[in-house]
Amino acid sequence: MFLTDPFFWEIVVSGLLAGVMYSLVALGFVLIFKASGIFNFAQGVFALFAALTLVGFQTGQVPFAHVLSWLTGTEIHNWGAGLPTLVAILFSLGVMILLAWVVVRVVLRPLVNQEGIILFMATIGLAFVLEGLGDLMWGANVKTLDVGLPQGPSDTIIDATGMFVEKIEISAAVVAVILVVALMMFSQYTKMGRALRAVADDHQAALSVGISLETIWWIVWSIAGLVALVAGIMWGAKSGVQFSLSLIALKALPVLMLGGFTSIPGAIVGGLIIGVGEKIFELYVGPFIGGATENWFAYMLALMFLLFRPQGLFGEKIIERV
């Protein structure tokens, strides 16, 4: 029986932990989608940009070094000293907040009241711009990110259960739980959180009770920037900071279809289901159909959901009156 097979449980645990990593990215999408009705295609690039910035600060890179060299003829690529990890993280967060402000002023404000699809296209543009900007600022080489999180397999778990679990994934799970609880508390129990939920529900009514949409959007995009930073740190620490990081956004899509675009718990549960699902499918079905199912399993599952439950597990049901 496979339930008694320790290998099965190892797969489940590692699937859950991988799922947490997907959820972290999906969370950023949900936050923005709820508050402004925009599907932010650039969320993956946000994570990449945040990670690049963090590495840059940490290692003391000079931003726009190549451009500066070309303009001034100097050859300075490094300040010679980096910032301590914690300070670098705070600085990166500052950059993400600044970025959020620029996005609201430059992209959202001129497009207010436009169709969702137009805003979506704008975020695709934003993704390319930001990817280019990241390249220009910090260079395109693959970087290692070390924020002092423990690496390698956890010996205690191996000794106790015989399961092979990466320490970094445990850290990611813990951070994700803290992040989600903090976000929930913020949105349920504070004035600002209430304003965020109000904006998510009805823009016009929100204006009439004295909520400034622009301020709220700035806050929401800043929080999405924070989530992107956390996701960037976790993914960067696990597999290096490289431009393929922006593609994890694609893995977040099926997570959202499963969980529903408007639900924070949905993003978490969706990520876990896909994380575990794709590992188990690979293990038990993979060998019969040639393997490599992890590449497409999530999308297939999402397609099934679109057929039978288009609003996802936790999303709001779309009812249209005629």
Partner: protein, 286 residues
């Protein structure tokens, strides 16, 4: 009256008469002009929605705006609350000329409103909806809120008390924790009124507060509007189609038709105004 009134109308009249009697006992204080609207013109491209309209609202009164469909009533309300910016004209609020302001800034000045097609936060509970009305009154900064401790908590509790009073006043205690999307229409309208009241507005704008209600709900709403006006001294400007209601509760009425003002005065004056009668009943063009 030559025709005998219908049962429904009679019941209506009785309720209004009772309300009038009750409220007639202590004549309310109507103060100086709180909002002065001067020569407002609003155009959407080539369409003139409002043409050169002026009227004022006095402190403590109930001011009704009436008119046939498409007369520009809701547009007028949207101008007052800042959703629309008129091309011409001035708005004076509490003795000061108002510059171009955003709706959320106007809300902070003390102007609250309800909407014709209820604009509540449907996913949130009644309590939360009404709490959003207090946003303009809450001042503790984000840092304390993030910690949700100390000053922010005390503030939350204080506001919660105010909100509970409004809930009591509107008799909606039983639906405090219900998401408003699930409530029947009449109750949603009442919650929306509660949210507007929570801001302790100096001027309360009501866009068709009784539209689509049954007689009983209308009577309740009438009572609440009169009570708000009397107990809190709130100045109210409302749009309404039910003539019986308007004539009974309003102190003064302004009548719009095709974006122009065709009448302004007490209900009795307006009722006798020939232009108003023509606009409502139609006039033979021969």
């Amino acid at each position: 009256m030559s025709l005998p009134p219908t049962a429904e109308a009679a019941e209506n009249d009785d309720a209004y008469a009772a309300a009038e009697e009750e409220h007639g006992l202590n004549p309310r204080q109507v103060g100086p002009v709180i909002m002065d609207i001067r020569n407002i013109t609003l155009r959407f491209g080539g369409v003139v929605a409002i043409k050169d309209i002026s009227f004022d609202v006095r402190e403590g009164e109930i001011r009704a705006i009436i008119g046939p469909n498409g007369a520009g009533k809701s547009s007028m309300l949207n101008v007052i609350n800042g959703f629309y910016h008129p091309q011409e004209g001035e708005i004076w609020f509490r003795g000061k000329k108002r510059g171009a302001m955003k709706p959320h800034e106007i809300a902070k000045q003390g102007i609250a409103r309800t909407f014709q097609n209820i604009a509540l936060f449907k996913g949130m509970t009644t309590l939360d909806n009404i709490m959003t009305g207090r946003l303009t009154k809450m001042h503790k900064n984000m840092f304390w809120q993030a910690l949700w401790s100390g000053p922010a908590e005390a503030e939350e509790i204080e506001h919660r008390e105010r909100v509970e009073k409004i809930i009591d006043f509107l008799e909606i205690q039983h639906i405090r924790k219900t998401p408003v999307g699930r409530l029947p229409y009449g109750l949603q309208k009442r919650v929306e009124l509660g949210r507007a009241l929570a801001a302790e507005p100096q001027l309360l704008l009501l866009d068709e507060p009784m539209a689509g209600m049954n007689v009983e709900e209308k009577e309740d709403m009438c009572r609440f509007i009169l009570d708000v006006n009397e107990e809190f001294g709130t100045t109210i400007a409302l749009i309404e189609h039910d003539m019986g209601v308007v004539m009974d509760i309003a102190d003064r009425v302004v009548v719009l038709d095709y974006g122009r003002k065709i009448g302004d005065g007490t209900p009795d004056e307006v009722r006798k105004n020939q232009d108003v009668i023509d606009a409502y009943l139609g006039v033979a063009h021969d």
